[in-house]
Amino acid sequence: MRLEGKVALISGGARGMGAEEALLFAKEGARVVIGDVLEGEGRDIAAQIPGGQAIFVRLDVTRESDWQRAVSMAEEVYKRLDILVNNAGVSATGGIEDTTVEEWDRVMEVNAKGVFLGTKHAIPAMQRSGGGSIINISSQLGIVAMNESSPQYIASKGAVRLLTKSTALQYAADGIRCNSVHPGPIVTPMTMGRRSDDDVRELMESRIPLGRYGEAIDVAYGVLYLASDEASFMTGSELVIDGGWVAQ
């Protein structure tokens, strides 16, 4: 198994890509701490993973004390932390003139500051474990812009892209790798609202060379690869999973 003996903490693990990652990691032998603000759904995912291989912890990624508790839980229950997936995120739409300061702050808090806080508190635990792998979920919109999104979403995902490289550089000597993943449009609860609009869905599909939205599992497999020792020579890299969007 590709993650045998490893312990992973996944933010936003209650549904969408995070839930898929939790289930896949467990199949590959990891023990998983599922962090999310969605308690019911998060506990359901943990319950789908047999044999004490998963626990749920309430995690609002914008609250430092929540991160401290989540990392402590991993170390208390499973004795170590090897993998952090900074997956939690929120989306937004709109133009810059119409965006309020509150809307800007909300997205930057979750998508950028959440990654900062998770990284900050996972690093000491990974140092105690002798190394680790951090995977930050950015977006194809961390690389290219799109009018149908929003300035704060795009800026937040750009922040994640380079925070990743900063972390990779700073902790390489500790054997802690850090890579970013850049999903294109994925079928998840986060994108459900806009996908249900036929015009939007068709527009998006027309921009994807492979012709369809991605599934959460398509991203989860990329995250698994980066989490595993198969990627032990990779840090600071961007793994784009977007059906060919940014290659055009």
Partner: protein, 271 residues
Amino acid sequence: MAERPPRLEGKVAIITGAGSSGAGIGNGKAAAILMAREGARVLLVDQVEDRARETLEIITSEGGEASTFQGDMTSLDDCERMAQTAVDRYGRVDILDNNVGISQRGTVVEVSEADWDRVMNVNLKTMVLAAKAVIPRMIETGGGSIINISSIAGLRAHMSTPYTASKAGVIGLTISMAADHAQDNIRVNAIAPGLVYTPMVAPRMDDDLRQYRRNSAPMQVEGTGWDIGYAALFLASDEARWITGIVLPVDAGLCAVHPGTYSPMSQQTRY
């Protein structure tokens, strides 16, 4: 928990440059061994058949299924024979992993025209011709995955201008082929290996230089053919079914930092 099925179950892979030019494990050899371990049937292509046979012996000893093909990938005829051989032996082609490559140092002033042509032919044209032969066969069976081995030298100056130009060409080829053949369900991706210790570079290495190369990237470790092989395995598999047109650096962080952070250009003269 139940054992998962092999990651390349039922698939057929062509690996060019599947032998190594010396003792040890190069990128192509590692990819071939890993793909066979994950259930692929593998056509091991090399210009020197004995080199492909060494890889075959490893795969056979592990219970995998593979066979060799001797061919010069700068020849379209040989590429056509290679693609047809895969179909004749195994019924289909799902994966093409283009590894063939050589080093070439020097500035444009220093490099001879003949050496320039040679490195562009071996590093770039081989990938064009192999894909040209394989893609129609992939279309017949519903699609496939092509992996082109570029280099971080295709993204950064590396004191090897002809090599860098050829490897940057591989990146352009990759993104353009990805766009051309997405509708055929053929994915095309590039891997950009960093400073890996393989039989290709071994002849010009000594202990000091290997240490210098380790120190050149944030992780301060030496990569191997296995690191590149695992990346190729991932991109070849259906796990990467929504990934096309990407360039994946596998480089211990070298491209993530300012190129001069660990190895100032002025000190690069030795490698």
